[in-house]
């Protein structure tokens, strides 16, 4: 028999009634996940029951820290007369322990892996945090792997991820706030930021958006990312996911906010700028010259990936005079045998390349190498020999494809590929005129696009003070200030170095 208060079902003093109610809540015995261990606490001379959900709780911990102490002690010299307090403070050796009076709270915590101890004659339950979900070991990053630098990646457990972040950033101002999202199956979202760095406006805005998410269940970060997105139809990503705790910490130190969730082996970084999307984790682990060399290569690759096919079309259709005469003749000679217009050739080949790429992701790993053979041999060599496409085009499409692989962020990668197709058609329509007009529009879009209030191309344009860590970077000792576009509370990263002597 349960009582009610404020509309919420309360525990009764009868153990059997409480057990009945919980069994009903978990549809026991149809649902075999609910484990009930009845026992007698000898020292108190009372009946009791230990309940937990199989798969959610750590059984070893329950046995060792809860059941063993409850059954092991026989003397009854307790400081506290209240049985709940006696059990919580004097009997059980578990590191946590709290009381709860309502079934709602008990059920919600049990789903998260907590263990409940019900005692006869007490209208309160004791709860212990014994979560023991299965999780992967901390492994090496798969997407953002580096040659030099730490090789740990986030896992699917938010607790492990939080611990990884804390390991890299041991700052007492590092805040980890939790919010719940999802109306039906609530999941916990951890918002992490450095309190005396991050702009409170940005933090509040992130929290507001997380609170405003209205959905039945948001099981993981990629879904949350889309719920938080302010421009859901835009081609440009407005947040970024990293699987590297060191990179997440670098962002935290610039004043960004990161979100962590269970079941997501990544951290969601907010807000982002174009620069954070095109930088790689390794950029700051290499010496100044080396990392800038890599950055220049990647920047060129970005341009190649966006522009090459359209420039080829524009030049070969509208501005032939740009190609050196010998090359022009060579191209003309090979194109003579190809019956299609240049645009069709490019579209065909680009489509084939996108096919290979998509197939390579979907195909089971065992037959993966086949894709390479089919792609290279049939689409490249054979298509040329069959006079479907000209050899120069294979070079161009291959260059474009390889270049697009250098873009580290998967979201931006797709943006680049879609933009490439848009430019391709525009170039076929109006040559350089079309390309110039579209690029002007793209720039207008990018410059006014914002991610959580921060302009996408800042601090370059609009100009903000920063350590110029954008296209290139300065040597580490000269990166003295934080980028001001995030409006950090503490703007100086490291004080001016005092002159020696």
């Amino acid at each position: 028999m349960t009582t009610q208060r404020d509309g919420k079902p309360e525990l009764s003093t009868l153990l059997a009634a409480n057990l009945d109610r919980l069994k009903r809540d978990f549809a026991y015995p149809v649902n075999q996940s609910l484990i009930i261990r009845n026992l007698v606490i000898a020292s108190l001379k009372r009946d009791a029951a230990v309940l937990y959900l199989e798969g959610a709780a750590d059984i070893g911990e329950i046995e060792k820290r809860i059941i063993e102490p409850l059954l092991g002690r026989t003397d009854a010299n307790f400081k506290y007369a209240d049985p709940v307090e006696a059990v919580r403070l004097e009997l059980v050796t578990h590191r946590t322990g709290k009381t709860a009076g309502s079934f709602d709270e008990i059920v919600n915590l049990m789903v998260d892996g907590w263990t409940v101890v019900l005692i006869e004659g007490v209208d309160q339950a004791l709860l212990f945090q014994t979560s023991g979900f299965e999780s992967r070991q901390v492994a090496e990053p798969i997407v953002e792997h580096v040659i030099r630098g730490p090789k740990e990646a986030f896992t699917e457990s938010a607790a492990v991820n939080r611990s990884l972040v804390r390991k890299y950033l041991r700052d007492r101002h590092l805040i980890a706030e939790t919010l719940n999202v999802g109306d039906r199956a609530a999941s916990e979202v951890t918002i992490m930021y450095v309190m005396d760095l991050a702009d409170p406006n940005i933090v509040d805005e992130v929290k507001r958006r997380v609170r405003e998410v209205r959905a039945d269940a948001v099981p993981s970060l990629p879904l949350l990312e889309q719920y938080l997105d302010e421009h859901p139809y835009s081609l440009v990503p407005s947040s970024l996911q990293t699987e590297r705790p060191d990179r997440a910490c670098a962002f935290l130190l610039e004043g960004h906010v990161i979100l962590l969730m269970d079941n997501s082996p990544t951290a969601l970084v907010l807000p982002v700028t174009l620069w954070s999307l095109i930088h790689s984790a390794e950029d700051h682990y290499m010496r100044w010259a080396y990392s800038n060399f890599m950055r220049i290569i990647r920047l060129l690759a970005l341009f190649v990936a966006v522009m090459t096919p359209s420039v080829y079309i524009a030049v070969s259709t509208f501005h032939e005079e740009m190609i050196p005469t010998d090359l022009l003749l060579a191209i003309a000679a090979t194109r003579e045998k190809v019956p299609f217009p240049a645009l069709l050739e490019v579209v065909l080949m680009e489509f084939a390349f996108e096919l290979v790429r998509e197939a390579a992701i979907r195909v089971p790993t065992v037959i993966g190498p086949t894709i390479g053979i089919v792609g290279a041999l049939i689409l490249g060599q054979a298509a040329v020999e069959a006079n479907i496409i000209s050899p120069i085009l294979v070079v161009i499409v291959a260059m474009t494809g390889i270049s697009s692989f250098t873009i580290p962020e998967p979201g931006l990668n797709v943006t680049v590929r879609i933009t490439r197709f848009i430019l391709l058609f525009v170039a076929a329509f109006m040559g350089f005129y079309g390309i110039a007009l579209v690029i002007a529009c793209v720039l207008a879009y990018l410059t006014t696009y914002t991610s959580f209030g921060v302009p996408f191309l800042s601090p370059l344009t609009p100009h903000f003070r920063s350590s110029a860590d954008m296209i290139l970077r300065l040597p580490l000792h000269r990166e003295r200030i934080r980028p001001h576009n995030l409006n950090p509370q503490d703007t100086v990263r490291r004080p001016e170095r005092k002159a020696k002597r």
Binding site: D199, N201, I202, E205, V315, F318, H319, E321, M322, P324, T325, M430, G431, F432, Y433, G434, I435, A436, L437, V438, I439, A440, C441, L443, A444, Y445, T447, T448, G453, V454, P455, L457, S458, L460, T461, P462, H463, F464, H484, N485, L486, N487
Partner: protein, 373 residues
Amino acid sequence: MTATTEEKVGGREFTSIILIAVGMKLSDITTTILFESGQTAGWMIPLLSLGFMLIPYAVLISVLKRRPGKGLPEIVFAIGGKFGGTLISLLLFAAALLMTAVTSRGYVDIINVMVYQRTPVYALYLMLMGAAFYVAHRGFLAIARISWLIIFLIEGAIVLLVAIMWQDIDWLRLFPWAGPGVLPIMRTGLMHSAMFGEIILATALVPQVISFKAYRIGSALGFFVSSVKISFLMAVYVCVFDYPEIIHIAYPFQQLTKNTSFGRVFTHAESFFIAFWLLISVIYFAFYIYLLAYLFGHAVRADNHRKLQLPMAGLVLLIGLIPGNTEQVRVYWELLMSYSTWLYWALPFIVWVLDWIWRKRHANSQAKPQANV
């Protein structure tokens, strides 16, 4: 100044806009027309024109300084009343509209003649205005930020162009240095001072800039550097093509790019420069469409001037299609230049006088109650 609340344009961005909006004149029909009257001394005209234009500008600035945070339309409405404000705003708007229409037609002609001979003018025009409208529609911030993004690339490209052409430059072709004579040059400079009419028009945008100081420095720097740039490039045109050949070349800038090459392999680099120039043209006309909508919006006191941008782009397109050919465009341009020179000269003085009267009346009405007490 925080990123999240930032809605105004910073000093650098504003300077870049001016550098683009004024500097673009070095590549359009302005230079050709100036060579006709200026001959070998044509390159002096931009410097002289700016010098002359600084006089009305100084008068206008003295009024603007007294009313911080207010743009030209707000001020003329405040001191000229409803009627005066509307009249002056509409006059400015009309001058800017016609100038934009004629100039943009000039650009479309260049694109048509130099690269896309087979594409109809109206199609090229429509595309240019479409793109410019979109950029303008993204707001003044978009124009400002793009300008700042590409300003160094633009100036770099100009330096590159001159560097490539350096061996073809014969500085002696600048002689006789006074061209048609000192007095005619002065007169041409004065009569073409509307070429820097933007210096008056841009004062409408004062409230959009972060501070009056940033506005003043930005416009001063932008106009000065632009006029030096135009005049230097004009000197280069004369030195490369020589006088009198230069007056038969319709588009010296584009002709100059046609002569460029990157080494012996890439013998034609013109498309590189033209593509770049096209990109900047879009920003240039986006700025004008924004300005037109802004001026007109203030003149009729519309709530949302951004909604006027599409009609403005259409209006520019329609007016721009009126001239039958490039020759007519030039005639209209000359005509417009002389009329708008009068306007840009007279306006600041009128505003100053109105402001003076307003202040006197204001002082009297303030003094009177005090006297009664």
